[in-house]
Amino acid sequence: MEDGPEGGGEAPLRRPAVTPWPRRGEIWSVRLPGQPSDPHQPRPALVLSDDVRNRLADDVIVVPIFTRGAEGPTHVPLPRGAGGVKRDSVLFCEELTTLDRDFLGSGPWGAAVGSDLMAAVARAVRRAIGETVPEPG
């Protein structure tokens, strides 16, 4: 039974036009599509979602990057150079966000950040959702 103009029984996977696709651990600029004059953008973000999702889905899970931030359980320092950032920054893991791929502007800024930093981000996200997660000894 056909259920769409192209026929076939299953909805086609939505493939975004944006290429290249973002990889987990990379830093990309985020902007409001169609509003280049917004004074607050673009803002950098770390891609946290899995690469299968990043390649096939039309959205990505990102962690916003701020230039400063209080030390705390859900903030992860991002040293200058990591992922291509030009200054010491802070990942606000409590502000984890899912964005359509067309919110991503330029990127990646550099190579993906290291696995230790990604592990620290994962711990901070778990704390943000209420888990008690000590730093590894």
Partner: protein, 90 residues
């Protein structure tokens, strides 16, 4: 034989309040399968949860009202993203 989890544990010495130790021993005696280590693990988890909670409070209070330009930028992005994701659905 030690399980893998048990093998990664650390043995420490500590000087504790004798009344608390007696309370732990009483609890362990009434609950077969438990030992002092299990109870002290639980106590430390609770302690760490409280420490994390306090640190979270400090972080949020320290951040309140700061980084306004960056926050406002992200809020705008998030609002637009949410509008797209949920706004058009019945």
């Amino acid at each position: 034989m030690l399980s893998a989890k048990r093998a990664t544990r650390v043995k420490v010495g500590a000087t504790l309040d004798p009344d608390l130790v007696a309370a732990v021993d009483l609890y362990v005696a009434g609950n077969p399968g438990l030992d002092r280590s299990t109870v002290i693990d639980d106590a430390l988890r609770l302690w760490h949860a409280r420490q994390q909670e306090l640190a979270m409070e400090r972080q949020l209070l320290e951040d309140a009202g700061r980084y306004d330009a960056e926050r406002s930028g992200w809020k705008t992005v998030r609002k637009e993203a949410v509008k797209r994701r949920f706004g058009a659905r019945p």
